[in-house]
């Protein structure tokens, strides 16, 4: 019988940034973490998934909404939880043993009990023999094991994990994931629930019993899927079909477009070179492919792949639906063209499909010297998105514009100008 451990009711998180309007990172999120489950929170960068995790931990207070922990309103750090960090966050000046003991320093245990508990954890997590080592003597995977041991040593009710495997190489990550799942399934840890934040679809499918998918600007829940493929082999048909359907959710219209207005402003972070590579690959695959396959071919994770797909879609090179991507006629033409023709096609598509270019050209043309500081455009974008995101978008537009020879940019002066400016040397 599962009980609810953490309940989030209509959580919204805004970051104030006067004099601009506040940025909404999370919008109206309701979510329950139940006992006996591993919950994966999956989303692209900027979807506020780490913020959501920190709200559960009590590290961040939401702007509005309610967080209940074991039925009581959360105030300060959530007592029943422990956390594992992407960067491990272990203290470099303490040995493995001291790091693990640090979590118990304020418990009611005596010094001997603490030592015993810490050693047990170190043993269980496979750090035997490394008790006296300093973190810098360990490999990345071993360091994260220290992170796990430290978190599990306090016997938390809920274990929160913030992208715990994304700082590790593929093999190490796989190994550590399997070990964690074994500990959980064999009930060797007293933890009642695990919440893992990730941007890796296969990781979410491998580990969790339930996948909550977030989308960005602002972060909100677009799907809550029960997963029966946890722990299965990657080639198992059930695993493959689960990964496929998650891709399907991520590429549906409602999951992608935040709102009509912001969709028109959206510029995916996709450098021209990478997007071109994607179009070429699709052409080689017969103009149509399954997104998980493409991700596999390009060795990309989905949140690196999706912006490229979105860019190809915006420029009219590709169509996406239900986890498949297909080149359009223009896309095929682009793939088959030579370098100079490609620039021409790109320019045509960008001018007709990306409204921002029209806007920028209009501004530049209205100026006598046909130039404008980049900052001006960044600040315009900042009306709607965070400064970092605005900067990224303008940078992407500059990248596209330079490639298509629509506009130019001078890094030293920070000026964007039109190609036909007379006094450009």
């Amino acid at each position: 019988m599962s009980v609810s451990l953490i309940e989030l009711h209509k959580i919204t998180k805004r970051f104030e940034r006067p004099p601009l309007a506040p940025i909404e990172v999370l919008s109206d999120i309701s979510l329950t973490v139940r006992s006996e489950e591993i919950l994966a929170i999956l989303g692209p960068s900027g979807s506020g998934k780490s913020t959501l995790l920190r709200i559960m931990a009590g590290l961040i207070t939401p702007s509005s909404g309610e967080v209940l922990s074991a039925g009581r309103r959360l105030d300060g750090i959530n007592n029943g939880v422990a956390m594992v960090f992407q960067t491990f966050a272990i203290f470099p000046w303490l040995t493995v043993l001291e790091n693990v003991e640090l979590g118990l320093i304020n418990s009611s245990l005596t010094a001997e009990e603490r030592r015993k508990r810490a050693l047990e954890m170190i043993d269980m997590i496979g750090l035997d023999g490394f008790e006296g080592a300093y973190p810098k003597e360990l490999s990345g995977g071993m360091r994260q094991r220290v992170g796990f041991a430290r978190a599990l040593a306090v016997h938390p009710e809920i274990l929160l994990m913030d992208e715990p495997f994304s700082g590790l190489d593929v093999l190490t990550a796989e190994n550590l994931r399997r070990d964690l799942l074994d500990l959980w399934r064999e009930k060797r840890i007293p933890t009642k629930a695990i919440v893992v934040v990730t941007h890796n679809i296969e990781e979410a499918v491998y580990l969790s019993d339930r996948i909550v998918i977030l989308q960005r600007n602002p972060g909100r829940v677009v799907a809550d899927i029960t997963n029966h493929a946890a722990g299965l082999d990657k080639r198992d048909p059930r695993f493959v079909s689960m990964v496929d359907s998650v891709y399907g959710v991520l590429t549906t219209r409602e999951a992608k477009a935040e709102s009509v207005a912001s969709a028109r402003r959206y510029v995916p972070m996709a450098p021209v070179g990478a997007m071109t590579g994607l179009v070429e690959l699709l052409r080689d695959l017969g103009s149509r492919a399954d997104l998980p396959n493409v991700a596999h071919e390009l060795l990309l994770e989905y949140d690196d792949l999706l912006p490229l797909v979105e860019a190809a879609e915006i420029l009219g090179f590709a169509r996406v639906g239900r986890g498949d991507v297909e080149l359009t006629r223009v896309g095929e033409e682009f793939a088959d063209a030579n370098v100079l023709e490609r620039k021409e096609i790109f320019k045509r598509q960008a001018l007709s499909n990306v409204p921002q270019f029209q806007a920028i050209i209009k501004v530049l043309k209205s100026k006598r010297d046909r130039r404008m500081p980049k900052e001006f455009f960044v600040e315009l974008m900042e009306q709607h998105v965070s400064p970092a995101e605005a900067e990224h978008r303008v940078d992407t537009l500059i990248d596209w514009g330079r490639y298509a020879e629509i506009l130019y940019y001078d890094e030293d002066s920070g000026l964007i100008y039109l190609e036909d400016s007379e006094d450009r040397k």
Binding site: T87, A89, N106
Partner: protein, 523 residues
């Protein structure tokens, strides 16, 4: 000369006391500034201003007030000397500590919260270890810089009275007055010996030990070494100390533990108390601000009644002259330190041998060299108007050299090889490759050197040998004359003017150059 060891000991004690005071100040001020928003808004700009006030200017002010506190005793002068050294060390160390505290990665802070570490535990396990490296480096540099002010503050002429504190600086001053070359040499030799010994038995081991607190998890190729540290590791002394003090430490820890548990039951009350305490602190800070503003206005009013606009204009004219000298000193310093520093920095063999030497030279109080130079000036009739520039350089060029060596060392080897492959040679090699690569380091060195030159101007624009005194027209000499004659209005005016000019030049020139350098460094 037999009393020299005793004098040296007195000086060292002064240095140690001043350093401990600086350290205590650093912890309290830096911690509050990093943890209290309201305090931060006041404390950090204030620190910035304090950093620009010439240290020797502080000295004259503090001597006058302290002497009146302890009439007829030398204690006031002792405290004033320690304060002078303190003011030369504390600001820079505090800044470093504050910056370390505010740059602790978010994940580590969150980990500490998730482990429910108390404030004290967070300080002990996270904040202090994280800032150790920066504290040791800045402490070492500040301690080295302190010798200059020690030498300057042991012989003070205030309000027309000469006061000598027993110490190596005053020993030297006496030798100068007696035109005794052997006395001078003895003082110089013992000074070098003290600097080298302290470096070897205190700072080197600390630097080696502090490596343990590096946050980057990769090992670097060039590890610093210390023979004292090696010795300590092998010796029985440490284990003896541990045996002796271990039980005491454990008892204290246990006691603290019990105290903490007792308090935990009253958590809510404690939280209330700490909240009230924080509010009280805010009120206190605002109160101090209001009071400070009041004193400021009153001071201006007082000044206005004594001085006229002509005085103000004169002070700024003299400030302009000193500014030219400071800039000339920095520029001339660059002329030789850039080629030399690049050579040393890119030649490992040379670096291993010369870097410790440069470090000792940087610590060596340059004002101890002044008399030798003065003798030359007198003999060859060189005007102090120009002659004071080399005097300023004596102390400050080492900062330039230091930074250039560091900059040259960090030039990526790939770039170096690329420049060779593409045949960059001669002038081009310098303008296209080396100078841009070390530019940020040169700017950093320039800022430090200029700051040092301003401080030095107070003693570098007036020097003497025997009964002859050489004076240059400038703000520095004006400050020392005003201090000698006890002209309060002029002291306050000239010191404020110097602080204002330093702040102004930093904001308008150095900061911009630095921002530009930072931009260049970013890839």
């Amino acid at each position: 000369m037999t009393s020299l060891p005793y004098y040296v000991l007195r000086s060292v004690i002064r240095m140690v006391l001043a350093f401990l005071l600086s350290l205590a100040f650093t912890f309290v001020y830096g911690y509050i500034a990093a943890h209290n928003r309201v305090a931060e808004m006041v404390l950090i700009p204030l620190l910035d201003i304090l950093q620009s006030v010439p240290v020797l200017g502080f000295l004259s002010v503090s001597v006058a007030s302290l002497v009146s506190l302890f009439p007829g005793s030398i204690l006031g002068y002792e405290i004033a000397s320690i304060l002078a050294i303190f003011t030369s060390q504390a600001w820079n160390m505090t800044f470093a500590f504050y910056q370390s505290l505010t740059s602790i990665p978010r994940d580590l802070r969150e980990a500490a919260s998730m482990l429910r570490l108390s404030k004290w535990q967070t300080f002990k396990y996270l904040e202090l270890p994280y800032s150790i490296i920066s504290l040791v480096w800045n402490g070492m540099m500040s301690f080295g810089g302190g010798w200059f002010f020690l030498a300057a503050s042991e012989t003070i002429t205030v309000l027309g009275r000469d006061v000598q504190l027993p110490g190596i600086g005053s020993y030297m001053a006496t030798a100068i007055r007696a035109s005794s070359t052997s006395g001078l040499l003895a003082a110089l030799v013992s000074m070098v010996a003290v600097i080298v010994v302290i470096d070897q038995i205190v700072w080197r081991p600390l630097v080696v030990w502090s490596r343990k607190f590096k946050v980057e998890m990769t090992a670097s190729d060039e590890e610093p070494t210390s023979w004292v540290m090696e010795l300590l590791k092998k010796s029985l002394l440490l284990s003896f100390l541990e045996d002796a003090f271990g039980p005491i430490g454990r008892f204290m820890a246990g006691y603290a533990e019990r105290l903490r548990r007792g308090r935990r039951s009253g958590g809510r009350a404690l939280r209330l108390i700490s909240r009230v305490a924080l509010i009280c602190m805010d009120i206190l800070i605002v109160g101090l601000l209001v009071r400070g503003a009041f004193w400021f206005v009153r001071g201006i009013w007082l000044l206005w009644s004594v001085l006229d606009i002509g005085d103000v204009l004169k002070v700024f004219y003299l400030g302009g002259l000193t500014l030219v000298r400071v800039m000339a000193a920095v520029f001339l310093g660059m002329l030789w330190t850039i080629p030399a520093g690049v050579k040393i920095g890119t030649t490992p063999r040379l670096r291993r041998f010369l870097q410790p030497v440069v470090q000792v030279l940087a610590s060596f109080p340059a004002n101890m060299f002044f008399p030798f130079v003065t003798v030359l000036y007198i003999r060859y009739h060189i005007s102090m108007e120009i002659g004071s520039i080399p005097l300023m350089m004596l102390g400050t060029q080492w900062y330039l050299l230091f930074n250039v060596i560091g900059g040259a060392m960090s030039i990526p080897n790939d770039l170096n090889e690329a420049s060779v492959v593409y045949g960059l040679r001669g002038i081009q090699r310098w303008t296209k490759f080396i100078l841009p690569a070390i530019f940020p380091s040169v700017v950093t060195g320039g800022i430090t050197a200029a700051g040092g030159a301003w401080n030095a101007s107070i003693v570098a624009e007036v020097t003497s040998w025997g009964s002859t005194t050489l004076t240059a027209t400038g703000l520095g000499s004006l400050i020392s004359q005003a201090t000698n004659s006890g002209d309060w209005a002029m002291i306050v005016l000239s010191i404020s003017a110097m602080a204002a000019i330093v702040v102004g030049v930093n904001r308008l020139f150095w900061r911009r150059l630095y921002a530009r350098a930072e931009e260049m460094r970013a890839m």
